[in-house]
Point group: C3
């Protein structure tokens, strides 16, 4: 496996970009080497003299000092550190001074994507795509190979469907929204404007709803299907990762509000409501009818049980299980601490007697209290 420098560099290096042009476009103050031309964005440690890096926090001062990045996006208090790094190249170091370097770096990645390293995208409607006669696809929309738009569906201006994406009957894709390859947007489901759904995600499969019906003889019960008659409604500026599942509602809809961000392999059960700007990391599962507030974060692998409520600004640590409603903002955790296996075995075995230990402690306390 050939190695490649650990930085954002397309197969063929782009022509160098005058940094001053970028700073003019995005704002901030450029100091030091005003004539620098850059070829890539990189982390501090991996950057070379044709790279732009950034420092998100003053605690990275040491890393900044040893970085070979030609230019660094910094807050004002680190400008001098950035400019006075040892062993400068011929034109000297550059500092790009802004109030919020991390947000500026994010803006720079978007500028870079737009102007230097464009994403390959379908052009127009691919000849193999299939659009039902009763569908409405805006003339500026782009459809990849074998994309499908079913009857009564609407694909708005500048929207994009990846290869094999399926927009089922009467579904709605908002302006500028992009569905990746193999995404399914189920019938009657809607996603707003400027959204992004990554490959393989299924929006609008049936929620998991069954009524138990006793079997004759009393040995158990079978499950009778509850048809899922609702849909999924997704707001604007929502991003959903790859291979997620967002189920349609049983009665009423499953809702993701504006600005929600979901990572990969996330399960959102029927009739869940996720408030705006809430973000969830990979492998999270949210059971049916849970109601999650705005501005929340759920760490990777967290589980939220059904019918619970999370207030706004609640933060759940990775792999924690929410078993009760949480009505106060804050950070919540429930993770068994990892340990070497022998120590874990002893502690886990003792944990199974914990309540008994407490009773013994109580008894001792009674006995020894004068």
């Amino acid at each position: 496996m050939a190695d490649r420098p650990d930085a954002a560099v397309p197969s063929e290096l782009p022509a160098p970009v005058p940094l001053e042009r970028v700073v003019v476009a995005l704002g901030g103050e450029l100091r030091g080497n005003m004539g620098l031309a850059v070829r890539r964005l990189a982390a501090l440690a991996d950057a070379d003299e044709t790279s732009v890096a950034f420092v998100a926090h003053p605690r990275y001062r040491a890393r900044l000092q040893s970085s070979r990045a030609g230019a660094v996006i910094v807050a004002p208090e680190l400008a001098d550190v950035a400019l006075q790094r040892p062993d400068p190249p011929p034109g000297g170091w550059a500092a790009w001074i802004v109030a919020d370097p991390y947000a500026q770096f994010a803006a720079l990645t978007r500028w870079w994507r737009a102007h230097v390293q464009p994403r390959p995208a379908p052009v127009g409607v691919h000849p193999t795509a299939w659009v039902a006669p009763g569908a409405r696809v805006h003339p500026t929309a782009r459809l990849g190979p074998f994309a499908v738009v079913e009857d009564g569906a609407v694909v708005e201006e500048d929207a994009e469907l990846g290869a094999h994406a399926v927009v089922q009957a009467r579904a709605h894709v908002g302006a500028g929204t992009r569905l990746g390859p193999h995404v399914v947007l189920g019938y009657d489901c809607r996603i707003g404007a400027r959204g992004l759904v990554h490959g393989g995600t299924v929006i609008g499969a049936d929620g998991f709803g069954f009524a138990p019906v006793p079997l004759p003889g009393g040995e158990g019960r079978r499950w009778e299907k509850i048809e899922q008659l609702g849909a999924v409604r997704i707001g604007d500026d929502v991003e959903i990762g790859a291979n997620c599942c967002i189920d349609r509602g049983a009665l009423g809809d499953t809702v993701l509000e504006d600005g929600v961000k979901l990572d990969n392999l996330i399960q959102i059960g029927h009739n869940v409501h996720v408030g705006r700007h809430t973000a969830m990391a990979g492998c999270v599962g949210v059971a049916g009818s849970a109601r999650i507030g705005a501005f929340c974060t759920l760490g990777g692998g967290a589980i939220v049980l059904g019918h619970l409520e999370l207030a706004d600004h609640v933060h759940i640590s990775a792999a924690s299980v929410v078993m009760r409603s949480i009505l106060q903002p804050g950070q919540y955790s429930g993770i068994f601490p990892i340990d070497d296996n022998r120590a874990w075995e002893k502690n886990a075995a003792t944990l199974r007697q914990l309540h008994a230990l407490r009773e013994r402690l109580k008894a001792l306390e009674r006995r020894t209290t004068p």
Copy 2:
């Protein structure tokens, strides 16, 4: 994002349905407003006077009393409460009296889906579908755009393949079974009658089987593939959610018996055997060769290790890890309780010394025992 009442209502409201017609079709006794026509099914709290709701349990009596649902499916003991709610509409309230309101509501959703709010479905074989010359597709089967049926496969009467579904060589789809968009039914795999598999699920990928082989020099081992020579056999009336994985067996088959229900993003390893009418919530993982009984339930995110056995009627709580066979029916749990982060940190840190604490407690007990 426009708001829409939280109830099952298609984009265009259906014509009102005389409730008496539904009651005649599904059974039970209608009392109160016999002339009521309904337009939707709804939860008690969201219902209006053109809605049918239901009360699954007497503990919801207060919610029933304040509901504006035109008709409510109730057990006999709640009929009067349903009929005598305050502030009735002109024709009065209606009560639909049955022995098991939840099962009746499930039946109503199926009736509603069939008669009022039909699911959009492919008609016949889509012209873009590809059927191998040696495949056998029943004339009544429906194939969506770009569906694939490979050589030697069989698709029975009234079965349906969604867009891009793939039925590989010699696989078998039973009568009336529906595979959602992008579902893969692997070669030699079988699913019985009246099944439903949601989008993106992969049935019959290789199980995870490798033999370790030492590398020269003793630094470690590489993995040599064990070809997975079995298949997957799925019974009748099985529903599988979206983006699940049901692996083919190594030797012999992976089996899901009749009536099994799986939610989304579930992993079933090779040679697992799941007994009839067992249900699993989202994100469950069952490792290879586990044998799970009939009438079990596994909560969301539960993990079952390989080669274990679960008896019939075993219920595993969400996010619990089954590390040993469970041979007695009952409910089993293993979840670290969530807490605010500061409290969790203290308790988790102490947990790592739990065994030592127990030893200290023992020592104290010895010392203080007269």
Copy 3:
């Protein structure tokens, strides 16, 4: 659901294979019934007189003794046990004696797949596949129905793309590598030689990267996208299960080294680096920028938090959460032990007071120390 013997048997039984021919091909010594012809591979307990089974470990001696397998692959010390089993068939029992029976059995499964029970595979390029004019597909490559190869992509000698697989622009599929149905290999991503990726896996979706930007009014923040400018680089001899997600890097690449094996439904975040011959079981999640060594194993459902490091030869138990770097080889665990629900409730409730119990114990110790 009809039953079928629990053994690897294709729909139509293959013609019997002279075992001696197989032993000559794969090595080892055949003793006992030299004229045996076999029809299937099976586990000891399920085998019949036309089956080959294996014994991986001397602790299975009792199972060996009662097995009806016509031939058993054994280590030298078990050869006599295999040959002298009671109630032999007319030609007697056979023993296939090798140094490492498990590795030999793995080799046998591969021989069986190649010579007796071939996997159905596309022949050439299916007429419905779509290959962009600027793509390069080797004449020996096989493409299934509706497969897509985009501009600038390369598919090497003897590679195979399943139905609906998508190789995006400038991606690279190494020689002999197979992508299952619906797999996506994202633009600029590379997989080496002899790889295998199962159905529905998405390689090269965007990593989960956003910068928080305060909303006016101070009520919270929204997320601004950080474009993911890196790609995914996968070495040789890598197998990836179904419905996994391997995200592209933010800056620089996500890397899976040679010989890595991933099971199903695994999430690999952006810029993760997985060392060679490391294996992960189903439902594992590895957060962004984690660096996992060589020769590691991660049990099913394990979670590794971001930016952590695991040394070589680290083994993580199923469902354990890695919250700190682990720099020493060994086995590590963190699982709440499952228990019957009543016992769990008591212990879990007490766990929330564990730190306080420790303080009470300390106080007692102080009080009772003479």
